[in-house]
């Protein structure tokens, strides 16, 4: 088992390398660079641009170097001294910007995942065991709403609801008065009060999808002979179901670890913008628009690393859960 983990981690290195190369390449693909987009913005607003200064900036940032030199400089900085480069737009090191965002992204991801699990598991089991009952139809109805309604609309509706009826300040993860305050018990409480909206919204479609998957998987498993065997032993019904078919139908739950993070970053960027969440999505989006290449590249690199870790975790958990995977 240890050898397997070691091998997987080893395989992650070339994968990460490839991902960083591709992400850097994609960022470079659109014509121009941060300076051209800055010049465009400045001349739009009627400011004069000094050509000499531009030449100087170009030299400092190394925009005239060929692509691979720029890439190698960047990646060498990361590997040798943890320097992710300089964000042009924010005019500060990328590493200073990125960690706070990554932290909140991770927290929201994990909490959404927990939310998805806690809600989807009992509902999925109920829907499969009592298939075509009224309860199942109700859950199916809400499940399809969860799947069909775009997240950002759901976000707007929930924000309105929270503001209008609960009198809560909405948007972000903290009320304005706590935004700059140091962490205290009151701030944590305020944080938690803000957290439920993004978690519900981000978890909604995942929950609905997992309920459908679990319902379908479990429906298949419920009539397998080994369930009848368990019943014929004299086990109580709840134990028959929880111990045997549910255990086998659980695999997609574990696989969810692998996809929830990329989903959170790429899929719900709009939601994060609507909700003004300090997660990676909105910042990455701005960085891409303004061609702030080191910031965007670093984000993509870190997110791929996290995704790979998530995949590894879910694979390891799957192997723990299912001996058939472990032995093959």
């Amino acid at each position: 088992m240890l050898g397997y983990i070691f091998k997987r981690v080893l395989y992650m290195i070339p994968t990460l390398f490839g991902m960083s190369l591709i992400s850097f390449l994609i960022i470079q693909l659109p014509p121009g660079d941060y300076l051209t987009s800055m010049i465009a913005t400045m001349s739009d607003s009627g400011q004069a641009v000094d050509p000499a200064q531009i030449e100087r900036l170009k030299e400092i940032y190394g925009f005239d170097d060929p692509f691979y030199i720029q890439y190698l400089k960047w990646i060498w900085g990361i590997v040798s001294r943890g320097d992710f480069g300089h964000s042009f737009e924010w005019n500060q090191p990328v590493s200073g910007l990125i960690w706070g965002r990554m932290g909140s992204t991770l927290v929201i991801s994990l909490l959404s995942l927990l939310f998805v699990w806690i809600v989807a598991l009992p509902i999925g089991i109920y829907s499969a065991v009592r298939r075509h009952s009224i309860g199942d139809h109700v859950f199916t109805f809400f499940g399809f709403i969860g799947l069909a309604v775009p997240n950002f609309i759901l976000a707007l509706v929930l924000m309105y609801f929270a503001y209008r009826y609960l009198g809560q300040s909405v948007g972000g993860l903290n009320s304005p008065e706590y935004a700059e305050a140091p962490w205290s018990l009151a701030k944590v409480g305020d944080f938690l009060a803000h957290l439920w909206i993004p978690i519900i919204i981000i978890g909604a479609s995942g929950t609905a999808a997992l309920i459908r998957v679990l319902r379908a998987n479990l429906t298949d498993e419920l009539h397998k002979p080994y369930v009848i065997t368990a019943r014929a032993k004299g086990l109580p019904e709840y134990k028959v179901i929880l111990k045997y078919p549910v255990r086998i139908a659980l695999n997609p739950f574990v696989s969810a670890i692998g996809w929830v993070l990329p989903h959170l970053v790429s899929g719900v960027t709009i939601t994060a913008i609507v909700l003004n969440l300090p997660t990676a999505g909105p910042l990455l989006f701005r960085a891409l628009v303004s061609q702030d290449m080191y910031l965007a590249g670093s984000f993509i690199l870190l997110l791929s690393a996290l995704t790979l870790v998530g995949m590894l975790l879910s694979d390891l958990l799957l192997a723990l859960l299912d001996p058939r995977i472990r032995f093959n």
Binding site: H223, Y226, G234, L235, E237, L321, D322, F327
Partner: protein, 568 residues
């Protein structure tokens, strides 16, 4: 009510079970009555859909919804006390105390009747502890003892293994150990050996019988195989369409059957214990010496790297000839390489060594192993395949016309009106009504689907048909019909068959010559009659003698030859 005999432990009286379907009520079981006696075996015989499994499950109240007991009583006797199982709540504590504790269940699929994600030991320990207050360690010791009783080697280590590390026979043994965990006085075995090889089947039946006698259990054995019934039953009940049509001691059923259905069932079983007479195609009957249509020489397939210890010789140095109009049987147990051999001939699996020489209609010879892709396609037009599973081998989204006509369309041989006529002709040839060509496969029974599969194989006027377990999934009466159909087609179309099967009786009935495979090698090749009555090799003898004989006065299996394969 008359006082029942001392040793009756369970009596079923006028049991009826209905399935409330959306459109109608299906009477799955009607007015069924029988008794189980201590130390005796009752065999419930019937073909698929006769309601025998539902009857067995109702004794444990584990009939799947929407089925439910609608009438009758199931009386379970314990000393003087009598309880009516039919009145218990299926989810109630009283019913759970009966399951596993009073009545143990073994059933059909050793592959899927145990959980794949729990160890064998943990599943049996659970059963042991459910019906006793043993602590974990004692329960484990008891589990190991049970595994020893069912003759699993190294039971202490095997308890920690998973089901997929067990062979089919071993799984069934583990299943039996689990059924015995609660020390039940009634054992229900629902087709316990259907999925197993004949020699494994003989061992498992031996084991069940021995345990039953040792523990004085009453047994209800459900099977479709009249041979097994003759070997193990004391009493027999024959079921058809949810009713018991005849019931009596085994000897009376076999030698003095009253009901026409019983006689028909026996006749189709007994028919398969002899070689078919006559019906030889013209090409095979002619006096001139024949050239083989297909010659297989030194054919071999090794999976994995050559020479390495973990490489597997699935087929090893196979040699045989197939003559025009001949039925050549290939028998062997699962894993013997017989299916791989069939695939090597078609080259759907690439052979590692050897050659397959095919003689064209004009007499020219081609080596199949060196054909190009395009040439292989024309070879595949003349050598067709019929599959085992009549349910999985037909695309459920294609109509019968599309299924049968598919090879014609792919090869661009017919379309439109001509296609329709050809399909109708083929359907008539296999005994199907051409009116059904617009329907989908699900509207047909298993036997009819197999006929569709045969019609598809015949669509391109092949010269050789490779039938891989083509009748294994069928009921015995349907099986002999399909075999007769194939014989009839062979005679009319001058076909040759390579008939791959694990079922010796089918091969004996259908084939002219038989090759016996064991661990990838052809151990014996000869006339079917000779192989089945006077086998030369030790392995063939053990295989033949393990086949249950459908005559309770001549229980062959109990005196069978045992063959211990040399360790490789």
């Amino acid at each position: 009510m008359t006082d029942p005999a001392e040793d009756v432990v369970l009596s079923v009286e006028n049991l009826s079970i209905d399935f409330r379907l959306r459109t109608h009520i299906l009477h799955a079981v009607e007015n069924v009555s029988f008794e189980l006696k201590r130390g005796q075996t009752l065999c419930l015989v019937g073909e698929s859909g006769s309601g025998k499994s539902v009857t067995a499950r109702s004794l444990l109240q584990i009939v799947d919804r929407p089925g439910s007991i609608v009438g009758g009583r199931i009386l379970l006797r314990n000393g003087g006390a009598v309880t009516d199982i039919a009145r218990h709540d299926p989810d109630g504590q009283a019913m759970r105390a009966i399951r596993g504790r009073r009545i143990g269940l073994i059933f059909q699929e050793p592959m899927s009747s145990l959980s794949p994600v729990h160890t064998i030991g943990s599943q049996i320990i659970e059963a042991v502890r459910l019906h006793s207050d043993l602590d974990k360690r004692t329960a484990r010791a008891k589990t190991v003892e049970l595994l020893r009783q069912v003759e699993i080697p190294n039971p202490d280590q095997m308890a920690d293994r998973y089901t997929f590390e067990f062979s089919g026979g071993m799984r069934q043994r583990a299943m039996i150990a689990m059924a015995l965990a609660g020390n039940p006085d009634i054992l229900i075995a629902d087709e316990p050996t259907t999925a197993l090889d004949v020699t494994t089947q003989a061992e498992i039946l031996d084991l069940i019988k021995r345990l039953q006698v040792e523990r004085g259990m009453a047994m209800l054995l459900i099977t479709h195989d009249m041979g097994i019934v003759a070997e193990v039953a004391d009493d027999v009940a024959v079921m058809r369409f949810g009713r018991i049509v005849e019931r009596g001691p085994v000897d009376a059923i076999y030698h003095d059957a009253q009901h026409p259905y019983t006689r028909q069932l026996l006749a189709s079983t007994v028919k398969l214990t002899r070689h078919v007479e006559g019906r030889v195609p013209a090409v095979a009957a002619s006096a001139q010496p024949q050239q083989p249509i297909l010659s297989v020489r030194n054919l071999g397939k090794t999976f994995g790297w050559h020479g390495k210890t973990n490489s597997l010789r699935a087929v090893d140095d196979a040699n045989f000839d197939l003559y025009p109009g001949e039925n050549l049987g290939i028998v062997g147990e699962s894993g013997s390489g017989k299916t791989t051999l069939g695939r090597l001939i078609l080259r759907t699996v690439e052979p590692t060594t050897g050659s397959v020489v095919y003689r064209n209609k004009d007499g020219s010879e081609v080596d199949v192993t060196s054909l190009t892709k395009k040439e292989l396609r024309s070879f595949h037009r003349e050598v067709r395949l019929v599959f085992q599973d009549p349910f999985a081998s037909l695309n459920p989204r294609m109509t019968v016309k599309e299924v049968i006509g598919d090879p014609l369309i792919i090869n661009g041989l017919a379309k439109g009106k001509a296609l329709e006529e050809r399909v109708a002709e083929l359907m008539r040839l296999v005994g199907l009504d051409p009116m059904g060509m617009e329907r989908y496969p699900h509207a047909f029974s298993g036997g009819q689907r197999q006929r569709i599969g045969i019609a598809r194989a015949l669509a391109l006027d092949p010269r050789i048909i490779i039938a891989d377990e083509a009748t294994s999934a069928l009921d015995v009466s349907i099986r002999s019909q399909i075999l007769d159909l194939l014989l009839d087609i062979r005679q009319r179309l001058n076909l040759s068959f390579i008939f791959i099967s694990h079922d010796i009786s089918v091969v004996r009935y259908f084939c002219d010559r038989v090759a016996v495979m064991h661990r990838g090698k052809i151990v014996e090749l000869g006339e079917a009659e000779q192989i089945c009555t006077a086998p030369q090799e030790a392995y063939t003898r053990s295989l033949i003698s393990a086949v249950p004989n459908p005559d309770p006065r001549d229980k062959r299996m109990l005196h069978r030859h045992r063959f211990v394969a040399p360790v490789l």
